[in-house]
Symmetry: C2
Subunit: 138 residues, 2 copies
DNA sequence: TACAATATTGCAACTTAATTGCATTGATAT
DNA sequence: ATATCAATGCAATTAAGTTGCAATATTGTA
């Protein structure tokens, strides 16, 4: 199934509307191997046809709400997004380069799931972030 | 030793100059039990006497450079700072509330140090971030 | 102690990331 | 087909952080 069709299928499973903007953004995220910033996604989409900045922000937020995408925290100021639910499809560590600030998914490194917060906290998900120099900058 | 004197002693060990701004900021960080944003530090300092925004940014960067403080990454757009070296004094997990976005140091939870990135990467330090609802929001 | 060298500060302007309000457009249930 | 309301597009605004440069303050040396 091509990314466009996959995106459509995923969006139709939600209670939201199937719109061109949502299909385009999710379709774009589905083919990425690394988390992308708002700006990177905007550029990729603009190659075909530009999308309004605010619409892109809102679509990304909506995708995260629907668990069709998730945010990855990094040191840089811009949020990064990747398709897939944070709970299930993304339980692996990330590497952030302190020099070029690219973020790499370390698919082979699972996040320790036995680590739990003290009583009173309700744990939703965990992130494990390694920092240093990526192969290119090293 | 009071925080002011501690701050002075720490700053004098560096090769930088001992300035009022540096002493005030480090002194403020030393008494905090949780990482604070630029804005929070600015407000706390302003209670006594306001400090220029840019000076505060530069002092914080300098403190991080000197390993007298370190940044903690969170989902929120604002960086958070805490006194102490990232390598030695801060090898524990953090909890970020997805509702009120406060960041809590989980002093009891050590960051797994045996987890290493693939060959080619140079690891500097690791962060372990738990997300969900804090006791207040839960 | 005074002085020169230069690190640090303060201010103004600017960049980048993200948000808000509102009128318009478009998806979908009937 | 069309009414309803979710979603979009645009303009303006807020928030976080940065840059350049002149003024000020710290510190080593005389």
């Amino acid at each position: 199934m091509n990314p466009d069709a996959s995106a459509r299928a995923l969006i139709m499973k939600t209670d939201g509307r199937l719109t061109a903007a949502r299909v385009r953004v999710l379709s774009c995220l589905l083919v990425q191997t690394q988390p992308c910033t708002h700006h990177e996604i905007e550029s990729m989409l603009a190659a075909e046809e530009p999308m309004d900045r605010v619409t892109l922000y809102r679509v990304l937020d909506w995708l995260v709400e629907q668990s069709l995408a998730h945010k990855v925290s990094g040191e840089g100021q811009a949020s990064r997004f990747r398709s897939g639910d944070a709970q299930t499809s993304h339980q692996h560590a990330h590497f952030e380069c302190t020099s070029c600030s690219t973020l790499t998914c370390l698919e082979g490194i699972a996040i320790p799931s036995h680590i739990l917060p003290p009583a009173g906290f309700h744990l939703d998900r965990s992130e494990f972030l390694l920092k240093g120099l990526c192969p290119a900058c090293n």
